[in-house]
């Protein structure tokens, strides 16, 4: 039976990688108090032996915690960056209104990475060496994360990414890079298989762009569908520069029950329109990833064909019938209405499926800093250890998307996924996956790496 976060309490005892020293991030604990004490002692010891640091140590208690925000202000990530920025500002305001972190206010130092990996590494370096940031945070696009993480590791600055990429959990990064606030694409994709197979049909045709992003979907989903007893009957790879798709649709086998599509880029609406024209009134079931239509208003003319099709959403764009008080508060704080659009403009649709990750990550940083008694840059490794020891994160104001299970070894969080159906031009919740649906075997143990 599938568990939904709204009607079933999350089992807090369930962890993926059981460890003895896990901290429940939501509650203070005796362990936390001890750690705080230890941290303070350590700071005092370090301070006395390092004159410059000592001076910083004396005044830092009232100084803000500086969070370097690596934001896609320009480049191909800019539309996401705008909403990541809004969510980040809202989360910081909430945290500060509630007393900050360890009694210190939080200050965001935003640097534009241009959605450019090389620039991303430079920006992380600036945060660590020029701006005196305590951590770096907020990156979405995978190639920027992959380009920046090695520098974060060299400079020993904790790097909290919000990217969905599997690169953290795959083991290709380092101990300083964590993704505790958003699930990765591997778990998202494989968690779709049970619903697609049991509800939409066993025979799946996949249509995806012919590069790494599409290949990830192809590989993760094919494997998951086969494990469920289904079958991928065709894999149709579309060249990235394609702008018309009519010649590809005849390749869809007639026995297809479900089409799984993950098209992105400026041709995506053409794809939807042409698919609608191709099938007319008799189409198979259609399932897609909202990445294709993130920030696109589904009520726009030209998208009628999407009616009745299904989408993965990281977080449902439209407020659902069973909306939690947490989602309500989160929406209000970020300035998003019940349709997922900006309060300033009902046509300005948010990147709602992804941006919650910034909110949740900042709350995890707060929990981690408080658990470790974080006082300054000297405590960075303690912060990482504190986050690594986290496990269950209950559905709460800090985690409005839903409960999470964090895997400290792989530095990756796992959580519920949502499948919504376009109904009268709105995305209505059809299914919520369990967290277990998203699990896969560990591929790395970062905790074995030294700091």
């Amino acid at each position: 039976m599938k568990k939904t976060i709204h009607d079933t309490p999350v089992d807090n005892t369930q962890t993926m990688n059981k460890g003895d020293d896990r901290i429940d991030a939501s509650r203070p604990s005796r362990r936390k108090a001890i750690k705080t004490l230890a941290a303070t002692t350590a700071l005092a010891a370090t301070a006395s032996s390092m004159p410059l640091f000592g001076r910083y140590g004396q005044v830092q208690s009232s100084e803000p915690i500086k969070i370097g925000f690596q934001v896609h202000r320009t480049g191909i990530g800019a539309a996401y960056g705008r909403w990541y920025d809004r969510t980040t500002k809202a989360a910081v305001k909430k945290i500060n209104d509630e007393g900050g972190i360890n009694g210190r206010p939080v200050e965001i130092v935003a640097e534009d990475d241009g959605t450019d990996p090389k620039r991303g590494a430079e920006v992380v370096e600036k945060m660590a060496t020029q701006h005196g940031c305590d951590i770096a945070f907020g990156t979405l696009f995978s190639h920027v994360v992959i380009g920046s993480a090695p520098r974060a590791g060299e400079l020993k600055i904790p790097y909290f990414v919000v990217s969905e990429g599997h690169h953290v959990a795959s083991g290709m990064l380092n101990r300083y890079t964590l993704q505790p606030g958003i699930t990765d694409v591997k778990s998202q994709v494989q968690a779709m298989a049970p619903f697609v197979n049991s509800t939409l049909g066993k025979k799946v045709t996949m249509i995806y762009p012919d590069f790494a992003f599409g290949h990830d979907h192809r590989d993760y989903f094919s494997a998951a569908v086969e494990a469920q007893g289904g079958e991928v009957v065709a894999k149709i790879a579309i060249p990235p520069t394609e702008s018309s798709f009519t010649k590809y649709f005849p390749k869809i086998p007639r026995n297809t029950d479900v089409i799984y599509h993950v098209m992105v880029g400026p041709a995506v609406l053409t794809f939807v329109k042409e698919m609608g024209e191709f099938f007319g009134n008799s189409r198979p079931e259609i399932f897609g990833f909202i990445d294709s239509l993130e920030a696109v208003d589904l009520a726009s003319p030209g998208l009628e064909f999407l009616e009745g099709t299904y989408f993965w959403e990281g977080n449902p764009r439209y407020a659902q019938a069973n909306q939690s008080e947490y989602d309500k508060a989160y929406r209000a704080a970020v300035g998003v209405d019940a349709n997922g659009a900006s309060l300033s403009d009902s046509k300005d649709v948010a990147t709602y499926a992804h941006m919650f990750g910034c909110w949740e990550t900042l709350h995890i940083v707060k929990a981690g800093m408080e658990a470790s008694g974080y006082a300054g840059a000297g405590d960075r490794s303690k912060l990482i250890e504190a986050v690594e020891s986290m496990t269950s994160m209950p559905h709460s104001f800090a985690h409005p998307q839903g409960a999470k299970e964090f895997n400290g070894k792989t530095h990756q969080t796992f959580g519920h996924q949502y499948i919504t159906k376009v109904t009268n031009g709105k995305l209505v919740l059809a299914h919520t996956t369990s967290i277990e649906d998203t699990y896969y075997p560990d591929e790395v143990d970062y905790t074995t790496q030294s700091f």
């Binding site: 202000r73 320009t74 480049g75 191909i76 990530g77 800019a78 539309a79 996401y80 705008r82 920025d85 809004r86 130092v109 935003a110 640097e111 534009d112 241009g114 959605t115 450019d116 990996p117 090389k118 620039r119 991303g120 701006h131 979405l140 190639h143 920027v144 762009p209 590069f211 790494a212 992003f213 990235p240 520069t241 702008s243 992105v264 880029g265 400026p266 041709a267 995506v268 609406l269 053409t270 329109k273 990445d291 993130e294 920030a295 696109v296 208003d297 726009s300 003319p301 030209g302 300035g335 659009a341 900006s342 309060l343 300033s344 403009d345 009902s346 046509k347 300005d348 649709v349 990147t351």
Partner: protein
């Protein structure tokens, strides 16, 4: 995932908007645009011979005069604002969409000011941060230390314009506040040094490329001063009477258009495919610095070459035998309206978004929590990119600007040809290659708006 607003060379590259553009019947729209320009060429052929001033009429609208002292004061204030901006670039917020220097320079100045200058009036007369210093520096050094002869023309400005274009298009982070502050500071030092060493008026006329650019676009504006009076006319009317010529001006004009065209082309799938970049996974500006610089240089060389071939061919068709230099000097200014149209169409979508950031910044200029414009709770929106109908309006506005610019260019080219070759029949034959060029350029401009973009 990829939804785009490249910046500062932002253009129409918002992929959400671009995906709605793909749903529009841009093919028929383009056909109408190209046909309009072609038709205007035919009309000029059939209509009785008219002078440029008859084709682009203008009239006196009275005496409106601001004291030069007032302009100098405004110029000094702009200089001080620029200094303040540099300080903000070095020490203010690192977020380019909140930083005063980035917003002030890229959005308010670079995107918007040429539009006002080219379509309305001589804004640069008020904005120039150098003008105030011209007189004191001129007095200080009565004779320039170094010569900048007239025959050197605006070639120094051509070189600086190309350098600036490369910074805009190829630099990995032209909107990084500190980086921009450093570049502007350096340019400021160069400008004041140039004004001191070569004489302020010479330097501003021949080397300071913003002044040269604004002077060129200023020749297109509806309003212009003639003595103590202000005249209003059709865009381009001032060019009907010929322009003051300096060597290098034709190439400067062509570089404006070549750069503007490449700026659009630089984002298309065609270009990205050409340089081996997957447009759906753009690797970032730092990965394409060399191809972009080569493309920029190539586009400008190609345009200058093509233009030369067209006008020389036209001249040979009627046995004119005029030197290429003279033909260039006469015909190159006719493409100014196209260059301005490219600027306007290219930056319009970005201005719709980034203009909001400017207003939000002005709402609380010093970060003191002020709410001067009542925008404290306002969120910047890009909602107009998310709907087919609003994208249709935006796209058609851009297309109209492109077509209108070409029609004005066609009229100016016709007038120039008539002036050179004496009668309409000869002028038409001589102008035919250039006319074909302009029709094709209309198609290019509209195609750049419609083409899928990434990066």
């Amino acid at each position: 995932m990829g939804i785009t607003t490249a910046w500062p060379n932002a253009a129409a590259a918002h992929a959400t908007g671009q995906s709605f553009v793909a749903l529009l019947p841009t093919g028929p729209y383009m056909a109408v645009g190209v046909a309009t320009v072609a038709l205007s060429i035919m009309l000029l052929w059939f209509l009785p011979q008219r002078s440029a001033s008859a084709l682009l009429p203008h009239r006196n609208i009275g005496r409106v005069a601001a004291a030069p002292a007032l302009r100098n004061l405004s110029s000094l204030l702009m200089f001080l604002a620029l200094c303040g901006g540099i300080a903000a670039g070095l020490n203010g917020t690192r977020d380019p969409l909140e930083n005063g220097l980035v917003l002030g320079f890229w959005v308010a100045f670079w995107m918007a000011a040429p539009m006002v200058q080219g379509y309305l009036f001589d804004l640069w007369g008020w904005l120039s941060p150098w003008r105030w210093a011209a007189q004191p520096l001129g007095t200080l050094a009565a004779r320039p230390v170094l010569p900048l002869p007239r025959h050197v023309g605006v070639w120094p400005a051509v070189a600086l314009l190309l350098g600036f274009s490369a910074f805009t298009l190829a630099d990995p982070a032209p909107d990084d506040p500190a980086r921009l502050a450093a570049v502007i500071s350096a340019y400021m030092i160069v400008t004041f040094a140039g004004m001191t060493l070569f004489g302020p008026r010479r330097w501003l006329r021949q080397a300071e490329f913003f002044s040269v650019l604004m002077a060129q676009f200023g020749r297109l504006s509806v309003l212009a001063r003639r003595g103590a009076r202000v005249r209003a006319g059709w865009p381009g009317w001032q060019l009907g009477n010929g322009v003051a010529f300096l060597p290098g001006i034709p190439v400067f004009t062509l570089v404006l258009l070549g750069t503007g065209s490449f700026d659009g082309f630089n984002e298309t799938f065609v270009w990205l495919d050409l340089i081996g970049v997957n447009p759906l996974a753009f690797p970032g500006r730092s990965a394409v610095v060399v191809p972009v610089i080569l493309g920029l240089a190539g586009a400008n060389l190609l345009l200058v070459g093509l233009f030369l071939v067209m006008i020389v061919t036209g001249d040979r068709l009627v046995g004119g035998g005029l030197p290429a230099n003279r033909l260039l000097a006469l015909f190159a200014p006719t493409i100014l309206p196209i260059a301005l149209a490219y600027h306007m169409a290219h930056y319009l979508p970005s201005l719709l978004v980034d203009g909001q950031y400017v207003l939000v910044a002005l709402n609380d200029p010093l970060g003191t929590g002020a709410n001067l414009l009542g925008l404290a709770d306002y969120y910047v929106t890009t909602g107009f990119f998310n709907h087919r109908e609003t994208m249709r309006v935006i796209w058609l506005s851009q297309a109209a600007v492109i077509v209108f610019g070409h029609v004005i260019a066609v009229i100016l080219a016709h007038a120039a040809a008539v002036q050179l070759y004496g009668n309409v029949s000869r002028a038409f034959r001589a102008g035919l290659p250039l006319a074909v060029f302009m029709v094709l350029y209309t198609w290019l401009g509209l195609w750049l708006l419609a083409a899928p973009k990434g990066g």
